[in-house]
Amino acid sequence: MISRGTVAIVMLMATAAGHPVLGQDTHVLVITGLGGDPEFREKFSEWGGTLVEAAGEKFAIPVENIIYLSEDPATDPRIQGRSTRENVAEAFTTLASNSRPGDYIFVVLIGHGSYTNEESRFNLPGPDLTAKDFGLHLDQLSERRVAFANLASASGEFVKALSGAGRAIVTATRTGRERNETVFGGYFIDALSGETADLDKDGRVSLWEAFEFARTEVTREYATSNRIATEHAVLDDNGDGEGSTELVDAADGALARTMYLAADPAAARATDDPELIALYEQKADVERRIEELRELRGLIEQDRYDSDLEELLIELALTNRAIQGQEVER
């Protein structure tokens, strides 16, 4: 027999398929590498700080679930250590021991990369780490869902090396030969830590949305400055080792759509109120019918499509209002 509380949880999983269920945690590891000159050091530090701040304060990820390594720990009290090869290895070990299967782990590399002798590296103080090195570290995180973003130049080869089940790999470049400094990272960090990239207006920014937003803006930046694009970010999350640039109708993107730094607001609304449960079910039903209708776009006459869509959306709006009303009563 299933208790009423359990019913509510099951329903939430159904309505927010793929979102973290209660009990799943999110962990963040941010590594800023060698800056080289002061301009880059400052920029990388700002990007890292922005992400760590958002993770802790905005998305309320427990401080013990956030690890921040940087070239110069003196620049920010949140930095837990220098981003050396050894400390990075230790950080992954900590992640492995602190997390559980099913948890979400975000690893973000900010800095410079290089590609020589067909090997991609991320530049750290002291010896660099190669894509293969990171592969070994990630192997400790099996059964977790890992978002790994390398925002450095020449990062494209990381996709092949790290691609695997349960992993979403984002790189700022398509190949190791795109060696120029990238602008993707700035847009990506801002998208992931802000609201601007909430493209589906569900109140959260998924990895998919952050990638799509940043990619679009990178394209626009190069176009508006009349420069030839020297970076083409890719995302791979189906484990085939081939990244996608355009995510709409792409082979990749399914996992990235389910990965958020922000907690699922629905999880906070777990309830045993039967009226509310009924409303949630009603909402899920309308959403499903909207999805079915969208499949018909272009196949039925536009006016009819719009009219049907409007009816469903009105139903959804009223349902949402009812849910809000009921939640307020609670």
């Binding site: 700035g186 990239a197 493209l199 589906d200 799509e212 959403e287 719009d306 869509l309 959306l313 709006a317």
Partner: protein, 900 residues
């Protein structure tokens, strides 16, 4: 085609290997190096010597041929014929081909034919060359089929087992080039044979010159240029190479073409082809008198030159002297019934005068006399495209291309036509046909329509209610090379827009770097041309139309159109600017790199002057006068009561008065001990300014250096001084720009805004200045002023989401709902990542504009992407209930972050 040249065998002389002929070898080397005088003297002496132990009979033959060649190359044709007459009878047959060539140059075709026959029948060393020359005469004046049969025999010669000399290989190449008219694949064989001719005698220049001319025929300017420069490296005085290079320069838009032709004529004043080319240059600037003088000189040398007669016919045609045109046309067709180049040349020159209908008709006449004239099909097709007859133009260009696929001109244009399927065509407004690339039509077209409508109405009013033939087709190209090909068939043209009548083509703002130009100003300029061409029946001179179009830009918006800068005024001071009476040359045959731009500005100032003194009606009357076929001097005399000389003088006085201050401030600084010649540091410039306090460049330079070191107080003093000296200067480094930055540093927002307002009233494309001005006005609470500045920025570069978002907000703030909708639609056209947000904001704008139906559609699109978009759902409920929705918060700008 320039296949009228007979094969010139005399420069392909093999050098002697005998020690006895060392002097002869040296003389031939001098001929090949272009030291003609020395070569002629030495060769003359050798050829008059009797054969003996030091000079074999063959050496003497070679000396004679070289001697005649040298004389002919510098145009001493009569001397050369006299030398033939003096030649010993034993070698006369060997000289016959060379003599025939000279007679041909003099237009004595029958005598030339006799000489060629003599060389062939007498078995002269250069008999193959003579045989080719006979075929060329047949091709031009006789039976084309017989000529082609003769050309065809050269393939057998090539394929035979006898090793061929460089001269023979050159003959083969030329024959194959003619055969290529029927079978285009043979052009490649012609090139190969020319290359083999070069290899057989690397010192011979003739095949190299012919390669250059072949490339010119194929509209391949860069290759022609390279080939001819190679010749000139070996012989810098080679008249035909000098002329060929002039043609290539013309083709490639290089300045100094006329000087280059003069260089050719300096070497050979009787080179009729150079005279004809020079005459064409004169005709391009409507200088018929000088053109005819050149043609007369050409016809004195060769009274039956088909090229000279054709261009003379063109001059009469363009002047409307139809009787004389027909007389010369009939003379040419009597001489050569299949000579299509007559019509092609007249058509080409008609295009220069913007007579596209006539050009197309003439090309049809060319095709009627020679169905193998691929050039005629090309001219016909290109001009049909200019007239908006796209499918007809394409069909004729395809015919041209099938016949001559090596023509870069045909290839480029057909390639461009293949992209036309990616252009959206909008014919909703009966006055216009907008053709905009699908990639940017949603974004650009609303703005283009708005400017086009405004310009059309303003110009109708300016020109007394006149309306040009409608619809006006407006083509906008996101790729500059495509625009260039659309205009001239080739990439690399520098212009931003072009008008062919009721069809104009222009660069879209995407075609150039941001801030490079103001596309709306260019569109206004081109639409002004539409009116000028329509009003005059395409009879308006280039300088008049260009100057008046810039003048119209100035009437449209403050700051639009070319503005004077120190460079322009300095060139005036140096005497480089042309008088009004010669301004056309500044557009068509610039003699210094900035001359075209200078001429635009200068011509526009002429119209500032004319309108201020005689009023707009005088300009309208002049346009009508051009339509009636009257010339500029006559119109000036009859309508303005001023001679061209006096106009030149009065305009000069106006110019000096208008720019009196800046001209004085641009005088070279006084040099005195202690003042560095090339000041570099602040200290250097301070000394220059101390001695020259009224020198604009010194004040500006010092101001900028101080500004760069954050010494704003000191910098301001010099910028203000610079402004007093040249207040109209609105360049990118205008003192206004720097003063605005200084005021902003000090928090003097109003003063900063005032400086930028002045700057943007002088510079139509200073994008950054417009954006800063908008920011400052927003800060000052001037929403209308901010919107005005941002509206102007969109006319420079409309591709930034953030600009449209800010502008939409500004329009919203001042209650301009229509403006807000336009900007929200522009954001959508830019395909932002946050499409749902963009649709939602558009829906809100529609609500404000009182258009609930469009608001519903937009909010549905937003919710289709993001079904749980709470604000959008609320808006939909409000729209559904029919209630006036409250003004919900607008979504944040889709792009309001920048990478750090």
């Amino acid at each position: 085609m320039t296949l009228g040249f007979l094969l010139c065998a005399f420069a392909t002389l093999s050098l002697s290997t005998g020690a006895a002929a060392q002097t002869l070898d040296e003389a031939i080397s001098e001929l090949r190096a272009g030291t003609y005088e020395a070569a002629i003297e030495a060769l003359g002496e050798i050829s008059r010597s009797d054969p003996g132990p030091d000079l074999s009979g063959d050496d003497r033959r070679r000396a004679y041929v070289a001697y005649l060649s040298a004389l002919a190359e510098v145009g001493r044709y009569e001397d050369a014929l006299e030398a033939v007459n003096q030649a010993p009878p034993a070698i006369v047959t060997e000289l016959a081909n060379t003599a025939g060539k000279i007679l041909y140059e003099l237009g004595q075709i029958d005598r030339a034919r006799e000489q060629f026959l003599r060389a062939v029948q007498g078995g002269a060393v250069d008999r193959n060359s003579a045989r080719l020359n006979l075929a060329i005469i047949e091709w031009r004046y006789g039976d084309r089929d017989d000529a082609f049969a003769a050309f065809d025999s050269f393939i057998d010669l090539y394929n035979g087992s006898t090793p061929l000399s460089s001269t023979d290989l050159t003959a083969v190449a030329t024959a194959v080039q003619y055969l290529g008219i029927r079978e285009h694949e043979l052009f490649q064989d012609a090139l190969r044979a020319y290359d083999e001719a070069v290899a057989a005698d690397p010192g011979s220049l003739e095949p190299r010159v012919l390669i250059g001319e072949l490339f010119l025929d194929k509209y391949n300017g860069p290759e022609a240029d390279a080939a001819l420069r190679e010749v000139l490296e070996r012989n810098p005085n080679h008249p035909r190479a000098l002329l060929g290079l002039a043609r290539a320069m013309k083709f490639n838009g290089t300045v100094g073409v006329m000087d280059q032709v003069e260089a050719a004529l300096e070497q050979n004043e009787n080179l009729t082809t150079a005279r004809v080319f020079k005459a064409r240059l004169h005709l391009e600037v409507e200088n018929h008198d000088d053109a005819r003088t050149e043609l007369e000189r050409a016809l004195e040398v060769n009274p039956v030159s088909l090229e000279a007669l054709s261009v003379l016919a063109a001059s009469h045609y363009l002047r409307g002297e139809n009787g004389e045109y027909r007389r010369i046309r009939d003379q040419v067709t009597a001489l050569s019934p299949t000579y299509a180049e007559l019509f092609n040349d007249v058509a080409d020159l008609s295009v220069q005068s913007r007579k596209y209908v006539e050009a197309a008709r003439l090309a049809e006449e060319a095709i009627a006399v020679d169905s193998l004239s691929w050039r005629a099909y090309g001219i016909l097709g290109m001009n049909q495209l200019r007239l908006g007859l796209i499918e007809e133009g394409r069909a004729n260009l395809e015919t041209a291309f099938e016949g001559d696929p090596y023509s870069v001109w045909f290839y480029n244009t057909l390639d461009l036509l293949d992209t036309f399927e990616y252009y959206d065509v909008d014919d909703e407004d009966p006055r216009f046909l907008f053709v905009v690339h699908e990639r940017e039509s949603a974004l650009l077209q609303p703005y283009i329509e708005q400017i086009a409508e405004e310009a059309f109405e303003a110009l109708v009013e300016r020109y007394g209610g006149y309306e040009p033939p409608l619809p006006i087709r407006i083509e906008v190209y996101p790729n500059h090379a495509d625009f260039s090909v659309r205009t001239v068939g080739l990439a690399g043209m520098g212009a931003l827009g072009v008008t062919f009548g009721s069809l104009l083509a222009m660069d879209s703002p995407a075609a150039r770097p941001r801030g490079d130009f103001n596309w709306a100003s260019v569109l206004w300029h081109e639409l002004a041309h539409v009116f000028h061409l329509g009003l005059t029946g395409h009879e308006v001179p280039r300088w008049f139309s260009e100057g008046l179009a810039v003048h119209e830009q100035r009437q449209a918006r403050e700051g639009w159109g070319h503005q004077a800068d120190p460079g322009f005024l300095s060139r005036y001071r140096e005497g480089l600017l042309l008088p009004v009476s010669k301004l056309n040359e500044g557009f068509v045959q610039p003699s210094y790199p900035e001359q075209v731009i200078d001429s635009y500005l200068q011509a526009s100032l002429v119209f500032d002057f004319i309108e201020s003194r005689w009023g707009l009606q005088a300009i309208r009357d002049m346009l009508r006068g051009y339509r009636d076929g009257r010339a500029t001097p006559e119109l000036m005399e009859s309508l303005l009561r001023i001679s061209m000389d006096n106009l030149d003088q009065d305009f000069d006085e106006y110019f000096q008065q208008r720019f009196a201050g800046p001209l004085k401030a641009l005088e070279p600084p006084v040099s005195s001990p202690g003042i560095p010649q090339s000041p570099r540091t602040i200290e250097d410039w301070t000394r220059v300014v101390r001695e020259n306090p009224d020198n604009f460049p010194a004040r500006l330079a010092l101001g900028i250096m101080l500004f760069q070191e954050d010494r704003f107080e000191e910098a301001e003093e010099h910028f203000r001084a610079a402004l007093r000296l040249f207040p109209e200067y609105g360049g990118m480094d205008s003192p206004y720009w720097f003063l605005a930055q200084i005021h902003q540093q000090r928090g003097e927002t109003e003063r900063a805004a005032a400086a930028l307002a002045r700057l943007t009233a002088l510079n139509e494309s200073h994008y950054e200045a417009f954006l800063q001005l908008a920011d400052l006005r927003t800060e000052l609470g001037d929403a209308a002023g901010a919107a005005e500045a941002m509206d102007a920025a969109v006319l420079i570069y409309p591709y930034e989401v953030d600009l449209h978002d800010r502008l939409a907000q500004a329009h919203d703030a001042r209650g301009d709902a229509v403006g807000a909708v336009r900007e929200r639609r522009a954001i959508l056209a830019l395909e932002p990542a946050d499409l749902a947000g963009a649709y939602y904001n558009l829906a809100l704008a529609y609500v404000t504009a009182g258009d609930p139906a469009q608001a519903r559609r937009s909010v549905l699109r937003a919710l289709e992407i993001a079904p749980n978009f709470a604000a959008a759902l609320d808006l939909l409920l409000d729209l559904r209930s029919g209630a006036s929705p409250p003004r919900p918060d607008r979504q944040r700008s889709p792009v309001d972050i920048r990478p750090r």
